[in-house]
Symmetry: C2
Subunit: 727 residues, 2 copies
């Protein structure tokens, strides 16, 4: 395990490094020492406290960072973003603060959201404390339902020890701003409980900060709505309820990873592995990663996950920032929970649920693993071991190759370069789902961002009408249809910050044939379109995406006279999650566009927020506002906002878990006339073979790396901890 992602202060990457445990503690202690904030340790049975919810790095503004990176200016002050839940105030609210300078904070000032609006308290994420109270409330509320639950499922909620129920909660938590009433799906608490709904969903209003005033507002059971547990319990006692009797659970559980069934030949032995006969070819120093001409600074922000800065190839910056913004999954279904589920994962601590990666499974055993610290809904910093991994991937496809035949059984030459890429990986386990976030750095100046979806589907109780919304995947389980979308910010700086945006595709022209009078030639011709404003650069989901999306510095030309450019290439099957403007859609307005291009503003750092989940109707961050002023995007510092995703209609093969093959989306950043030739010509991994005299003489092999590469050592034994801990 690598020591931690903080670079030495002398490395420019250090200005982007996540806060150290000491820095996190310093921020906490500083804020606790400010009496006007009234921060208390969480205690008591209400939510009427002021608590420090989140502390993470507040990245420097871009101008200051560039002065440091490029102009030899001083390192910008390190500052923290601190999120305080003011529950003990007359008007409870959430306020974010900028705190600094680190490591010894002296001052703080509020950070304002769009329009200077305060974040309403009802928009805050649910804390563990609130979950404990919710659990208690649900256990109490379902007490009258003990007979029903025990009889039909063999599991119950209140006073349980072994055969317990648990729940999945969904969001948003209401139908309009200010509401906080959540549908809870009851499940048998076994391994993979997400696949064990018992047929009951409860709507609990937990808006009040005093849980004694919480109340169940509705119960759905086996296709029917009831005013509350009492009504359902009474009707059940009278035999007036159609019950769903769940079968006992067989061993091994269908929701578990325990292997079952006949072993396919060979599958009980170890298969192919990644190995490194000559050790690591990349450098990982703190939060600086270098490989094959690439250099990136990275962090894993607790709020929204992976964020790269100062992405350079061949020493030249290609992007100032590349980061995950949000991931959403919007569902359809026949039960109230399914109808209501519109997960906006940044509201579920997407960047903080970065649990331990297993060597040899989640990453090759050769990988370097990096621990991180989060102070998210915790009293202090916590260490998350192996939250990130880095490894070199043998792509098993040549980077490029050519066989030059002489068409007489011989050849002029064969030449090829082995394909490799560096992978930087983390995961977000947002409750049931596991996103695997990858950035791949290819040594020819191509970068790929990719996300795989795995983990458990969000499933609900199967009903007859449910099949309109998915597949029945087990006797009482419906896998609900949903759309996954992921939003990325890509602050490309292509040959400088003064960039323009252009789309390119082809159209057919019909011209007279210059060598055959009277004949016509129909052929493709480039259709290039310079896009001059933010509004026109917002390319909507409904329309086909032009196939080349080019970001250029029109004043910097490569040797052949072309504006130096990078291309964004989508790999996506994304579609709309809701009709434009419909209620919750406003909270994810970035989902309207495959791509949007805006002028860079430090104030438009993120397209979403941790608050959009619980108030999507009047979202703290509304991406649409970034383009509403419709600025010029010619010769400007541009930011590309990329949406990718796919439609997921669950099927039986999603049990026990969604598998990764076919379930990844992402995009490439590719040089387009950025260089004078492919930069991979500098790689020494080329091999050229030429015939030597008349065949079948042994041909001449020219190579610049030793042959053979040598053996690979056995990886260390498997180890896993599974916990994270306070530091």
């Amino acid at each position: 395990t690598h020591g931690g992602p903080t670079a030495t202060p002398s490395d420019h990457a250090s200005i982007f490094a996540d806060l150290t445990a000491a820095e996190l503690r310093a921020v906490r202690d500083f804020l606790r020492g400010r009496p006007e904030l009234g921060l208390t340790e969480r205690s008591g049975d209400t939510l009427e406290h002021n608590t420090l919810f989140l502390v993470e790095l507040l990245p420097p503004n871009k101008r200051a960072a560039l002065r440091h990176l490029d102009g030899g200016g001083p390192a910008p002050q390190r500052r923290a973003r601190a999120v305080v839940f003011f529950g003990a105030q007359a008007e409870p609210n959430v306020t974010e603060f900028s705190v600094g300078p680190l490591p010894r904070p002296r001052s703080y000032r509020p950070l304002r959201f769009q329009g200077g609006r305060a974040v309403p308290f009802s928009a805050r994420p649910v804390t563990q404390r609130e979950y404990e109270l919710l659990h208690r409330a649900l256990a109490a509320a379902t007490e009258p339902l003990y007979p029903l639950l025990r009889d039909t499922t063999g599991f119950w909620f209140h006073n349980c020890t072994r055969r317990c129920l648990t729940f999945s909660d969904i969001a948003p938590r209401g139908l309009q701003p200010g509401e906080r009433r959540t549908w809870f799906v009851l499940q048998r608490f076994v391994e993979g409980h997400y696949l064990h709904p018992v047929g009951m969903e409860l709507l609990l209003d937990h808006r009040d900060l005093d849980p004694r005033r919480w109340a169940v507002r509705s119960v759905w059971y086996n296709g029917r709505y009831f005013s509350g547990p009492q009504e359902l319990a009474a009707l059940y006692e009278r035999g007036a309820v159609a019950v769903a009797r769940l079968p006992d659970l067989a061993d091994p559980l269908f929701s578990s990873y325990v292997p079952r069934g006949p072993t396919p030949a060979g599958s009980d032995a170890h298969g192919a592995k990644v190995c490194e006969p000559r050790g690591r070819r990349y450098r990982l120093h703190g939060n600086r990663l270098q490989y094959g001409g690439w250099s990136v600074a990275f962090r894993l922000r607790s709020s929204a996950g992976l964020q790269l800065f100062d992405v350079r190839f061949g020493g030249e910056r290609v992007a100032y920032e590349l980061s995950v913004q949000d991931a959403i999954a919007f569902y359809g279904g026949d039960t109230p929970a399914a109808m209501q589920t519109k997960y906006v994962d940044a509201g579920w601590g997407m960047g903080s649920v970065t649990f331990e990666l297993a060597p040899g499974i989640d990453c090759p055993a050769t990988a370097a693993f990096v621990d991180v610290h989060h102070m998210y809904d915790s009293a202090g910093p916590r260490r998350f071991p192996r939250a990130l991994c880095v490894f070199e991937l043998p792509t098993a496809v040549p980077l490029r190759r050519h066989f030059d035949s002489d068409f007489r059984g011989g050849f002029h030459f064969y030449a090829g370069l082995e394909g490799t890429a560096l992978v930087l990986r983390t995961t977000s386990t947002v409750y049931n789902y596991d996103y695997i976030w990858d950035v791949l750095l290819y040594p020819n100046g191509v970068l790929e961002a990719k996300v795989h979806a795995t983990g458990f589907i969000h499933a609900t109780f199967h009903t007859a009408r449910g099949r309109r919304y998915g597949s029945r995947v087990h006797s009482h389980v419906l896998g609900n249809v949903h759309t996954h979308l992921v939003h990325y910010k890509v602050d490309l700086d292509v040959a400088g910050t003064a960039n323009s945006f252009e789309t390119m595709d082809v159209s057919f022209e019909n011209i007279s044939n210059p060598w055959s009078p009277g004949a016509r030639v129909v052929q493709p011709r480039l259709r290039r379109e310079r896009i001059r404003t933010e509004r026109r650069a917002a390319l909507p989901m409904g329309a086909a995406l032009p196939r080349y999306l080019l970001f250029s510095n029109t004043r910097r030309r490569n040797r052949w006279g072309h504006a130096r450019s990078y291309r964004i290439q989508h790999q996506s099957h994304a579609g709309s999650v809701l009709p434009r403007g419909w209620k919750e859609e406003k909270g994810v307005s970035w989902s309207r566009y495959h791509l949007a291009v805006t002028r860079h503003r430090d104030s438009e750092a993120c397209s979403s927020s941790i608050y959009n989940q619980n108030d999507p109707w009047e979202p703290a961050v509304n991406f649409e506002s970034f383009i509403r002023n419709n600025e010029s995007i010619e010769d400007q510092d541009l930011v590309a906002w990329v949406t990718v995703g796919f439609l997921h209609v669950p099927h039986s093969e999603d049990v026990p878990n969604t598998a990764t093959p076919g379930n990844s989306v992402g995009f490439f950043l590719r040089p387009f006339n950025f260089f004078d030739e492919d930069p991979s010509v500098s790689l020494r991994s080329a091999v050229i073979v030429r015939p030597r005299g008349p065949s079948p003489a042994q041909p001449e092999v020219q190579r610049w790396t030793p042959d053979p590469p040598g053996p690979c050592a056995a990886p260390p034994p498997f180890s896993y901890n599974g916990t994270n801990w306070a530091v």
Copy 2:
């Protein structure tokens, strides 16, 4: 190197095995012994001969094959397809024959194309013999241009020894049926000559079978057309031609693989490799491949490449056939050769240009390599070493994983399965371009077909107007815009041959909210559409593709009541190559559709032919005719025809070669309610970790494979032969 792809006769796969060298010879000798065919050794200076151009396996018809595979019937007779060029007849033509039975043929009968039409002689592929004659004709024709070529390029054509010119020819070879006049692009003959056009293109009419009647009809030089070499030579002598003086070639050549420039850190050492600590987990017996529940029979047909048969998972057939049909690249440009280039690679022996794969570059050094035999434009069978490779790929992404947090710093469990897949690979080097053809078998019943494009771009001389059609990629070189499309045949047999086709996507419904009176719910709902006829199942390029394309046996249900189905999922950026119906577009009418679904017919074995290139106007095989009878596709033996591709606007980074990252397209076959649960539950590679008592006690690790896997041996030293030879 593996012995050869012929299974033991006792293996059912053997009925699909390519012909052995002995079988190929037997067919040749049998046909040569039939005096009525008048087959002669190629000789003399004309093309007025009857020659045997191609011999390959003629696969059994499906009914007979299934009787054998499933019904215990006898193995169908092995038969050959033999293609004869009848150049010595009054009406020269091409005829295909079925010859059998093998290994001792006794009879032959003609194979008929659509409409019973004979293949016109002008539609035949160009043979090596014709190329020799063309080379001679061009050398003679350019003799008057010796001063011009020598002065401006330092290279010439006729009587050259060291500083030679060569050419790329393009197709189609004319503007209408019967024509055979080809544009030739002159190039300096150096490594990567494709990138060295000298600015001259010649139109040579070589329709006559006697080369003495061939003639240059037009010359294009540096932007201007001339009636012939004489005119151009005369004008040049008078100083009346604007010449393009090419600079001397620098060392290393920009078109070569020789590394240059500063070495990125680490790139001079060996990087990550694939290794197999416990040896191979797949079985390769003849042309039968087994891995992780999969079993496939394969062959590499000389005409069109990779073809799988009897594709089974878990013992059950999923597809009867999966095969590459054709690959095309249609160009645009400012020079006549570029305007005219519409490459249809099946006409260039796409399946026979399967040159040697380099271990460690084209495939991991751990791979098994398979030799094949081709008898394509040769006097007898030739052995192509290492034409195929097979290897297990560590995907480096878990097949599936989940971390189950307790949200208090601990966890309920962690579980994951390492990701691996088996790759079956071959390449087609169609002159300048190298296609890398992959089939990936994932152990969860998912199959992926994928093609990467690499090798040299097809480039022409740069002109000022050329930039409408691509990028200038070197001082005198334009990389021309083109669209790559690839066509696959997928004869899915999903739970039997009686299948139906359905598309599925979502639309939004707006319903009243059942738990909140007056409120509305807008949510996605499945939009399923059963497609009942071939015409309606032909999904055109212009329209968005429904995201789920399902092939089902509606009478076979999985345990949860769903029709057992497989899904085709495109990974493609394909677009049209020409307006529908425009001249040459008829020769590639399959390119109109992302997907088409037809009733299976043995007579519709291929969507293209080796003749479509040289007569696209009246093509020997017109795919459109497969759907023109608009048959019912309900409960029928269906075939899916899948088109994938991408738009390629070359850029400087395509020099020296197009690189693979971002340049692959393909599709997945994925089970969709085909099984009762994910079949990967049978794999023993699962690892489960559970906490043992209160943390931080070491957790319990449950696994079914040894840990650690052990070391990997060093691969053998690099070896390469580069030739193919007569056997």
